[in-house]
Each structure stands twice: as structure tokens, then as C-alpha cells.
Amino acid sequence: MTHSNRNFVLAYLMLVALPVLGLVGVLRSGRNLTAPISLGGQWKIQMDAGKLAALPCGKLLTTSQDPGFAISQSGKNFTVNVGNSLTPSSGEIDGTAVMARIMPSTGSAKDAGCGGEHVLSLTATVDPKANPRSLEGTLSVNDCPACVPVEFHAVRVDQVKSKGGH
């Protein structure tokens, strides 16, 4: 074997074969890693329409023909889209707990009688074992001690992430 060939074989072992072994190790060790619970997709929501309408801004949800929301997730952060009357809002996942603040869009807020600083807060717990995945939680309004939080149940109907800009 010439010097140049020996050099090539040595370089190949050091720079190609060894890293490939490292890759195998990484793929093996990574199996134990856990990522946040998946929430991305379309969700269908069920709740008491009467109680919801009584909430400031609640009408924005009851006017929708197809009550539901779409979640676009990136790790523990997500963006929730609830129809045209509400601004896409951000939320966070912490274990099985889900929190999001949903704001009405400027135009629709006045129509629904929820002007001012009102923001809908979504707090829920995800059931990781349920198939399809489900959420149990409450919708409440900040700065409104008199308002009674509305309980809801949501089921993921389609695990498709947003394809347009969100």
C-alpha cells in the first residue's frame, strides 16, 4: 500500500467511519428522550353554549358555525386559531397542562360586547392516552371576577399542521 493510499484509508476511517459509529450511538441514546405532547391539528370543541354566551367575548365563539380551533405546535409553544373573530394567539404546554390567551380581533370585539382589555383564557389538561387526543378544561375571562368559567371538552379531529402562514 502506497503512502497516499494509507493516508486515504486513515483519513476515511477517522473522518467517515468513526463519525458514522457516533451517529449510531446518538440514535440509540436519543430513544429515551421525550418531547412535549402533540397538540397540533384541528380540534372540535363541546361546551354549554348558554354559559358561553353569558361570558364577555363568549359570543365570538358561539357565532361560529363549526365550533373548533386549529393548533400549530412547535415544541412546548403553540399558536391557536379560533375563527376569524379572534386573533391567532399563542399558548404553552407544560407536561399535560395547556394554557393559552385568546384575544378578540379589534373589529369583532365591539360587536360582541367585549371591548376593553378582556382576554379569553384557556386552561386545560390533555389526556395523552386518549385516542383521538382530548382536552378537558375551562374558558374564563380575565378582569372579570363575576364571570363564571365555562367548562369544555375538545377532541382532536385531524392531526394536520397549518400549511399556510400562521
Binding site: 473522518l15 402533540s38 400562521h166
Partner: protein, 432 residues
């Protein structure tokens, strides 16, 4: 329902903005395609949607994007056929050890570094619907791919195609692309079979059979195109239409087999005859419509899916910075180290590393596949798009600093003088 007014308006806006930004980028010594990639981002929620949401909603209503996507995907299918047509892995053989090692290291180094990075990013930017293995392999493939067409354009514009640096870079890029797409095919296969429940061996068996038929059967028939071209110095419209039809049928086969349309069109291009004049002729026939009309639509569609606002907060920007750093270290550093080890001068090796770090359009194609099969999240998609733009944008200025024109020309003149001397003395340049 298809709204022709909206679709034509979208195409007009995309064409106008891409041509304008592309021309501006030419003025700052960047390839036009880099400007067009930036134009796509500008038309999306990252800029137009942010500063003029009503205009954005009027021109690009979400319900209309399916048609824009369909057109752009047709463009990418034909583009991948042209990429396959343009590459010739046999060139690697003529480049010797340096190119073989550099090519393989330029794949393994970013791949391994990306998989290490995946350990850090998986719990932060993914979710439990994506297995770690798929995530890590996808990150590896996405970081090790390189933009063969952009590289070829940079080398042509700088008159470096015939230089040693240029020929080694082109040979390495060809191998990188073939390897990268094979790895990606495997990942798509893994994910799709997990989702559909189809046994993986069935798909793998089908794919191997398909590839064998293409390489040992169809490839022989394709030589007829080359011989017709040599007889008549041209191909008829029917022959060109048949070529496109074959690319589409091949794309349909790979989609049906469970991977992706793009692999089929790429494979059809890769097994086409590789005689230089024939390849140039076919590229000249198809490239204008693909490059000027259809690819800008793909850039716009990618831009509409890229939302830089998702990269919010110091933490997310740090992830983005780390992704760019790892991608550059792996590709630039790996290629540079390998070529230097095999005897290339350090400066030239750095130039080769810089060229290999160009990701461009191919990266965007891969990232869109990743987002479609849901192996990456929208925020990670946006970060990776930023990485692709940064690494592609930095190539030309970095190359100007590392390998200025003077140096490349001097190297080429020295090589020519050496060749002449060898010819006059009747020496064997290989030394054997």
C-alpha cells in the same frame, strides 16, 4: 373553488417581486436565485403579512394557496428532473481520492453534528408524534444536502467551472445530492409506513425493483434520445414531451410506492444520458419556463409557510443561531478538513468548504417535504429556512475573500502551463 383572478394576480405579483429582488441581488454579486428566495420570504407572513395584513389576505387568501402550491409542485417536479439530468456521479471517479473523501465527509460531518444537535432540539422544538429517530435523521439529511444548481451557477458566474476547485466541488456536490436524496427517501419511507401501517419491506422491495428496472431497463431505452439528438442536432417537440411524460410517470411511481413524487423525477433525470451537449440542449429547452415562472412560485409558497415571527424570544433565536453554526461547521469545516488532509492547500480547501456550504433551493425542497410529513414543526421550518438563506447568501462574499478571482485565474493558468509542458514532453500526468 378555483378563482382565476386570484391565481393570475398571485402569479403576477410573485413574478414581479422575484424578478425585482433577483435583479437587486445580482447588483450585490449574489446569484439571482438567492434574491428570489428572499423575495418568497418577503411575500409571506414574515414581511407582507406583518406590514400589510389586508393586502396579504387579498392577494394570498389561505383558501387559494392550494392552487399556487399545485403549480409550484409541478415546477419542482420538473426542476428535480433537471437536477438529476445535470449531475454525473461518474465525474467523481476522475477526481481521485481527494474528491471521494471530501464528498463523503461533507455528508457525514454535518449529518453527525446535526444528530447531536437533534438531542438538544428534540425536546424543545418537536412533539411526541415524531419519533426521535425520524427527527434526527431528517435534521441530518437537511443539513448535509447541498444546492447543486446554485453551486453550478456561482462557479459559472465566477468563471471557476474549469478550475480544480470547481471540478472537485461539482463532483462532490453530485455525490452529495444522490446520497442526500437516498437518505431522505429512507426517512420518508420510515415515517409514511409508520403512519399508514403498510409493512416497510413491501415498500423497500417495490422501490428496489423500481430502481433496478429504471437503471437496467429504462436507462437503455433513454439512449435513443441521445442518438436522435446526434442524428438531427435537435429533439422534436414530441421527444421533449415524451421526456417530460417519463419524468411524471416515474414521479407517480415513487409516490405510489410510498415515498415522494420528487424522487421519481430526480431518478429519471439521473439515468438520462450524460453527454454534455445533449444535457445542455435539454436543460436549455426546459430551464427557462421552470426557472423564470415555476420556481418563483415555489419560493413564494415556501415564503408563505415561513413565519419568522414564530422564532420569538432570545431562546428561539439562540436555537436558530446554533442551527446555522452547526450547519456551517459540519459542511464547511468537514469539507475543508477532508480536502486539506488529502493535500489541497489550506486556502483552496477553505474555498471548497465554502462552496460545499451552499444549500439554497435544494434545502427548501427538503424542508417543505419535512413540513408536509410533519417531521419538523413550523418554527423549526422557519429556522431551517433562515439557515438555508444565510449559508447560501454567505457563499459568494466568503469565496471572494478566501479565493479571490486573481488567485483562481493564476491557479488555472498554472494548470494550463503544466498541461502544455506535460503534452510537449510526452509525460503521463497521472504518473503511472
Amino acid at each position: 373553488m378555483l378563482n382565476m383572478f386570484t391565481l393570475v394576480l398571485q402569479i403576477a405579483v410573485v413574478l414581479a417581486v422575484c424578478r425585482l429582488v433577483g435583479t437587486l441581488f445580482l447588483k450585490i454579486h449574489q446569484p439571482r436565485v438567492v434574491g428570489e428566495m428572499f423575495a418568497g420570504i418577503m411575500l409571506g407572513p414574515s414581511l407582507l403579512g406583518l406590514i400589510a395584513p389586508q393586502v396579504s389576505a387579498f392577494v394570498f387568501p389561505p383558501s387559494s394557496l392550494g392552487f399556487l402550491n399545485a403549480l409550484s409542485q409541478i415546477g419542482v417536479i420538473v426542476f428535480m428532473f433537471l437536477v438529476g439530468l445535470g449531475i454525473n456521479p461518474k465525474e467523481l471517479k476522475s477526481q481521485g481520492h481527494a474528491a471521494v473523501l471530501t464528498s463523503h465527509v461533507s455528508i457525514t460531518a454535518p449529518f453527525v453534528l446535526a444528530s447531536f444537535l437533534a438531542i438538544y432540539l428534540y425536546p424543545r422544538l418537536s412533539d411526541d408524534s415524531v419519533p426521535f429517530m425520524s427527527f434526527a435523521l431528517f435534521m441530518g439529511a437537511a443539513m448535509s444536502i447541498k444546492a447543486f444548481p446554485v453551486l453550478a451557477r456561482i462557479l459559472t458566474e465566477r468563471d471557476m467551472l474549469q478550475s480544480r476547485l470547481g471540478t472537485v466541488a461539482i463532483a462532490c456536490a453530485a455525490v452529495d445530492d444522490v446520497t442526500g436524496w437516498c437518505i431522505l427517501a429512507y426517512i420518508v419511507l420510515l415515517i409514511r409506513s409508520a403512519n399508514t401501517g403498510n409493512p416497510i419491506w413491501l415498500t423497500v422491495g417495490g422501490l428496489i425493483a423500481f430502481a433496478l428496472i429504471m437503471i437496467y431497463g429504462v436507462q437503455r431505452l433513454l439512449r435513443r434520445f441521445e442518438s436522435i439528438y446526434h442524428e438531427r442536432s435537435a429533439l422534436s417537440d414530441n421527444a421533449l414531451a415524451l421526456m417530460l411524460l417519463l419524468a411524471l410517470v416515474s414521479a407517480l411511481c415513487t409516490e405510489w410506492l410510498g415515498i415522494h413524487l420528487l424522487f421519481g423525477s430526480f431518478l429519471m433525470g439521473a439515468i438520462m444520458p450524460k453527454e454534455q451537449k445533449f444535457v445542455r440542449y435539454v436543460l436549455d429547452r426546459f430551464e427557462p419556463i421552470v426557472v423564470t415562472l415555476l420556481l418563483p412560485l415555489f419560493f413564494a409558497f415556501t415564503g408563505l409557510r415561513t413565519n419568522i415571527a414564530l422564532v420569538r424570544g432570545r431562546e428561539m433565536w439562540m436555537y436558530c443561531g446554533v442551527i446555522i453554526l452547526v450547519a456551517t461547521t459540519g459542511k464547511l469545516g468537514g469539507s475543508m478538513l477532508a480536502s486539506w488532509w488529502t493535500g489541497m492547500p489550506a486556502r483552496e480547501a477553505a474555498g471548497l468548504g465554502t462552496l460545499m456550504n451552499t444549500r439554497g433551493l435544494m434545502e427548501l425542497v427538503i424542508l417543505n417535504i419535512g413540513l408536509d410529513i410533519k417531521v419538523i414543526s413550523p418554527a423549526l421550518f422557519s429556522m431551517m429556512v433562515l439557515m438555508a438563506l444565510t449559508t447560501t447568501f454567505m457563499t459568494s462574499p466568503a469565496l471572494e475573500v478566501i479565493c479571490p478571482d486573481k488567485m483562481v485565474r493564476a491557479g488555472m493558468e498554472a494548470a494550463t502551463r503544466e498541461e502544455l509542458a506535460v503534452g510537449q514532453l510526452g509525460l503521463n500526468p497521472a504518473g503511472d
